[in-house]
């Protein structure tokens, strides 16, 4: 479980996040949603430790991440898997080498054990016989799937996905969403997905945090999301024609 307690973040004189409090549960797909520029990516970066918040704490199983020493932080980070918006695969490494990379850095395994584990992860995301290809030779959807394989290579306790559907067609988006959901159920990870894709929210969101103007505006389940009376949330979720049709069909 990850808890965010009173987190505030400034860049110079600009207050980006103010007093954010949220709990992200284990075994669930937790989602941080909000408009572009609302501060959701900054919040995610504060949670994974890429930004240090000026106020508040981020607790991993009750332990404050930013108060940990270097080795403790490193240990927690080895329990984190992250899928980046642009996949962030290493260009100079092949698909197999990308997935093996975290194991090479931290695991005490033989080369064949690492290869076996990497193949298992790649098979899990339906990437087969692509070991020797380089990221530039893969489609966007495949890159995302290899990114997921790399993220789960070390059996993470925490899985972060930054806009996993951006740049993907609707069909591939569903494949990625399903994969994230299945992995969360299978490995019982605390999964946090940053997204503004309402299809993804309705498909997989179990615990949703809505960020607006750098503040936590709303938190709840996807069922509660549709019937919420929060004006800003409604403006956000019913901005798309599809969601308006859903609303109409449901008689809301």
């Amino acid at each position: 479980m990850i808890e965010v307690v009173g987190v505030g973040k400034r860049f110079g004189s600009t207050q980006v996040l103010t007093d954010i409090n949220a709990v992200f549960q284990r075994g669930k797909v937790n989602q941080i949603i909000g408009k572009s520029g609302s501060g959701k990516s900054v919040l995610a970066k504060c949670i994974v430790g890429l930004h240090k918040p000026e106020e508040g704490k981020v607790l991993y199983e009750g332990r404050s991440f930013h108060d940990m020493d270097r080795d403790e932080k490193r240990q927690v980070r080895q329990e984190i898997g992250m899928l980046f918006q642009g996949s962030a695969l290493f260009d100079s490494l092949s698909v197999l080498e990308n997935v093996m990379f975290p194991m090479k850095m931290f695991a005490s395994m033989s080369k064949s054990e690492m290869e076996d584990r990497a193949h298992t992860c790649l098979k899990r995301v339906n990437i087969v016989d692509k070991d020797k290809l380089f990221p530039a030779e893969l489609s966007g959807g495949m890159q995302k799937r290899v990114g997921i394989a790399r993220a789960i290579a070390m059996d993470p306790k925490y899985l972060f996905c930054d806009e996993p559907n951006s740049g993907l067609d609707p069909q591939t988006s569903i494949v990625i969403d399903d994969l994230i959901k299945e992995i969360t159920d299978e490995f019982q990870t605390t999964t946090i997905v940053i997204t503004h894709d309402m299809n993804s929210v309705m498909e997989t969101g179990e615990n949703i945090v809505f960020i607006h103007k750098g503040r936590k505006w709303w938190q709840g389940s996807r069922e509660e999301l549709l019937v919420s009376s929060n004006t800003e949330l409604n403006e956000f979720i019913f901005a798309s024609a599809l969601m308006r049709q859903v609303k109409k069909a449901m008689g809301l």
């Binding site: 890429l50 980070r77 642009g86 962030a88 090479k104």
Partner: protein
């Protein structure tokens, strides 16, 4: 104030770079790769430049001191001295700052804008150490070899040009390059080379590591890496010359 900020951040990055590596074997493997990429692959340009620069030094020395009072061996002597003391360690380092420095800044800068450095950090890898330390070691270990090859080829180029065009005899040139040879000058040149290699790798890595933005900014970082490396090399060259030769 901005300069002080950058100097402070540069030293903090160095501290991070030299902190304990996760897996020494992996770092050493990367160092060998960097030696190939940044060193071995610079051999061609270094050889070409050194040979022709030596040839030009010899011809210009001869045409500028063409007097019956000056003995024939002076041309070889001047070619050797200018090559060992200045041309090979400094000019080659300035050229490597252009080739290797821009390569380092562009590679690390691209990794930054594509979030690959964030990926390393989140995995718990010391990204500064993993990316920069092998480049520092690679250049510091290999550049002295490049400079020694440059010294040889420059003097050889001078010989070919001088003797080939008939402006200096083979005996005079060979006598000149052996005249009053002081091996400390080679040591001095190699010390400078190692220091310049450190400057090239770290200044360029700093520019790349703190790139913010997209491809345009990667280009800007690359240019800054070359300019700042050159400026720092020239200043440090002056300081080292005063320190080591006077």
């Amino acid at each position: 104030m901005k300069v002080l900020f950058h100097i402070g951040r540069y030293f903090l990055l160095l501290r991070e770079t030299f902190s304990r590596p996760e897996k020494r074997r992996l770092y050493w493997q990367r160092t060998l790769e960097e030696m190939d990429l940044l060193g071995v692959q610079s051999l061609g340009i270094v050889a070409l430049l050194s040979f022709f620069m030596g040839a030009v030094i010899t011809i210009q020395t001869k045409t500028n001191i063409d007097s019956p009072l000056i003995q024939g061996w002076v041309v070889g002597f001047a070619a050797r001295q200018s090559t060992i003391l200045e041309f090979s360690p400094t000019i080659i380092s300035l050229i490597l700052a252009g080739k290797v420095g821009s390569n380092i800044a562009a590679e690390i800068g691209s990794m930054r804008v594509k979030e690959q450095i964030d990926a390393l950090d989140i995995m718990g890898v010391n990204s500064a150490g993993f990316l920069i330390l092998p480049k520092i070691l690679g250049t510091m270990l290999f550049n002295p070899f490049l400079v020694m090859i440059s010294m040889f080829l420059s003097v050889f180029g001078g010989y070919i040009a001088g003797v080939g065009t008939g402006i200096v005899s083979s005996v005079d040139y060979l006598q000149g390059i052996q005249m009053n040879f002081n091996s400390y000058h080679v040591t001095y040149a190699l010390i400078k080379t190692v220091v310049f290699a450190f400057i090239i790798a770290t200044v360029s890595a700093y520019q790349g590591y703190y790139t913010v933005g997209g491809t345009r900014e990667v280009g800007i970082s690359s240019t800054k890496a070359v300019v700042y490396s050159n400026v720092v090399i020239l200043i440090v060259n002056y300081a080292l010359t005063q320190l080591l030769l006077i």
